[in-house]
């Protein structure tokens, strides 16, 4: 069976097809919630923002232009929501999922419960290091890295999402990865803590 493209689904959503909206929801709920989780660091807020993003897609369905990729549109909405939440100070709370970090703050990293406790501790520490390194990046670099690395979005599309040129995206990503390379040296050299 040939899967409907996002574009086809979105065009049907414009005509009021609830099933097509449901299919888009099924396809993008996980990537979107994870995207928000990494940007705002709070699971409840991430889910709330992801719901808001889908609601905005629904509300703005008549303004959707078929010449733009659905994911570009979706992630642009999502990025605006996330950056606004961070600027409002709503993205600073942490959710205690796996105990406390070194600094006594609850950590947010999620680890596979199927692995050993020792491995879980290593994974949590590794995750915390990565998170802190990425969070320390400037806003645009952070969004670019998360879109590129974790959402698997092409740099051309990242440019459209962040409303910057392709060369600016390349430069953003290079500077971000250079910073991360320096900060995460213990992880990079030897691959273990």
């Amino acid at each position: 069976m040939v899967m409907d493209s996002d574009l086809d689904l979105m065009l049907r959503v414009r005509q009021g097809d609830a099933d097509s909206f449901g299919e888009l929801l099924r396809r993008y709920r996980t990537p979107l919630v994870k995207y928000f989780c990494r940007l705002v660091r709070d699971q409840a807020l991430a889910e709330d923002l992801a719901q808001e993003a889908f609601l905005r897609v629904y509300k703005a369905r008549h303004r959707y232009r078929p010449d733009a990729r659905f994911t570009t549109w979706l992630y642009r909405i999502a990025t605006n929501l996330a950056l606004n939440a961070i600027r409002d100070g709503r993205g600073r709370q942490r959710l205690d999922v796996n105990g406390s970090g070194e600094d006594g703050e609850a950590s947010f990293e999620f680890v596979d419960p199927g692995i050993s406790v020792e491995q879980q501790l290593i994974e949590t520490d590794r995750g915390r290091m990565i998170r802190e390194a990425i969070e320390a990046l400037p806003e645009n670099q952070r969004a670019a890295v998360i879109l590129h690395k974790y959402q698997d979005i092409d740099y051309r599309q990242i440019g459209k999402i962040l409303k910057v040129s392709e060369s600016a995206v390349k430069s953003l990503l290079f500077r971000a990865y250079e910073t991360l390379r320096a900060r995460l040296e213990p992880l990079v050299r030897g691959g273990q803590l």
Binding site: L25, C37, R38, Q51, F54, L55, E178, G191
Partner: protein, 178 residues
């Protein structure tokens, strides 16, 4: 290694170089141990970043989205659909009611104020007319007969002051209703 070369190396590893530039960079890599090591570091960093996992959406995520969409749709149908006509009619009726209340109130206020404005001076001041402007001739001493008459009426004038000042009466203790 120059920064620009390093950026090209990064772009090569992440497949962001144009084909011609990528080919030239690959040729350079084949003969440069330093750049080959740097490229390997970028790959290791990319692998290391995989270590940051986050939670999946909660099981009730879809239900919450659908509820919010349904709520929004209900509000919109109330505004954009038939409900809009009713909302506009109700709004217009409310505006008309407010306007009518303002007009009635204004009319009432004008009616209450008009007689007070047209009335002459208060009674008390009417009883004591302003003395006519005196001239130098009038300031001459009165004849003795007129002076005597005025002295006789002096007590009456004093009484008039008391009678005209009703505020003084208000200071008397109030009569007990019981």
């Amino acid at each position: 290694m120059k920064c620009q070369e390093r950026e090209k190396l990064f772009l090569l590893v992440h497949q962001m170089l144009e084909p011609q530039e990528a080919e030239a960079m690959r040729r350079h890599l084949a003969g440069c141990a330093e750049c080959t090591r740097a490229a390997e570091e970028y790959r290791e960093l990319d692998t290391a970043l995989d270590g940051w996992s986050v939670a999946e959406p909660s099981p009730w995520f879809d239900a919450k989205v659908r509820a919010r969409v349904a709520s929004s749709a209900r509000k919109n149908s109330g505004f954009f659909g038939f409900g809009r006509v009713r909302a506009l009619a109700a709004g217009m009726a409310a505006v008309a009611l407010i306007l009518a209340a303002v007009v009635v109130f204004h009319h009432h206020v004008v009616e209450n104020h008009q007689p007070a404005i047209s009335q002459p001076q208060p009674v008390a001041s009417a009883a004591v007319p302003e003395p006519p402007a005196t001239t130098d001739a009038q300031r001459q001493p009165l004849p003795a007969a007129e002076q005597l008459k005025m002295d006789e009426n002096l007590s009456l004038l004093e009484d008039y002051d008391v009678v005209s000042n009703f505020d003084a009466l208000s200071e008397l203790p109030q009569a007990n209703d019981n």
